[in-house]
Amino acid sequence: MKHIIKIKEQFGTELHTRQMIEQLGASLNNGDSYLLDMSGVMQISRSAADELYNLTHGSQRVDMINIEPFVEKMLSAVTLGRFMPRTHTSGDIPIIQCQTIESVIAQLQAN
């Protein structure tokens, strides 16, 4: 069965967080296919775009249509980023990956 989901109606004109997309993914039925109508969604965060990549490249059949220009650029950037080697050489500060809030606090308090 094919479904069209109007994202603007469900989430508004801005997709703020990864969790919004995770919730969307969790609401989809395995075996069905989905078209996400992105018309009117004007802004998206990097993390929400990254999660949309996961959703549209995962086990469920999910595609997007009517993508607005900025959202299109953001999706292209996160897709490009996934295929780039993970070397951080552009800035002069090493990037610390924190998996938990506790590790962020520990790093903040460490010298």
Binding site: A77, I93, Q97
Partner: protein
Amino acid sequence: MATGHPHIESLESVLSSFFSAITTGKKQEPDSTPFLNAIVNIYNRTISENIIQFALDNGATSEAINELKKNLGTSIPDGIKTINNPLTYLLDELICNIQQHACTDTGYIYSNYNEITDSVEIIIADLGISIYGSYVAAQKHLDKLGNSDAEALNLAQNGYSIKNLPDAENRGYGISSNIKMVVEGLHGEFAILSGNALMIHSANKKKIFTLPSEVDFKGTMVMVIIPATLPTDFNIYNYTS
């Protein structure tokens, strides 16, 4: 800087309390301060009355900056005169960044004079497209950006401009010159939360974090602590030219 307060000694302490607050979901930490409350409120998109919300047209922006300076002027014992120039430079540059790059029509500023530490606490924030999104919208440095808000912060603090200017003019002034002025010139502390990345920069700390996925701020929040009294050797022209 900023010692002697029973709970809040530095920006890193404030940020530790902030992360603790958003983990527990509490509206207020037991040792909460106005500065910490303002950070938590902006993060939660709850704009309390001590946060100035303003439209990003030039008239409203000037009004907001003047209101902030007026508020500070009445609470700092010696008035705002000595820090007026660096404060104006800081606010102008960072608000200009929001106007030009954040793709939003509203900005937020907050200030507080902390009499215990004799310092000024400032927040300049927007709920726009984040620093990563600004590079993406401008299609700048995509080859270096990866899929990382933290890498975008690293580019911004290192002077990689979002503007389409010739390389010679590509100074990335908004953030990088302000960090230098705050940390080196004013002996203050500077932090940015954008997307799910955090940068903190002080005399003894220079770190960028990719935060856990539950921390996700769609927008950019700059947090600054500067002394209310200027260091004697401070010269603003070292940072503006």
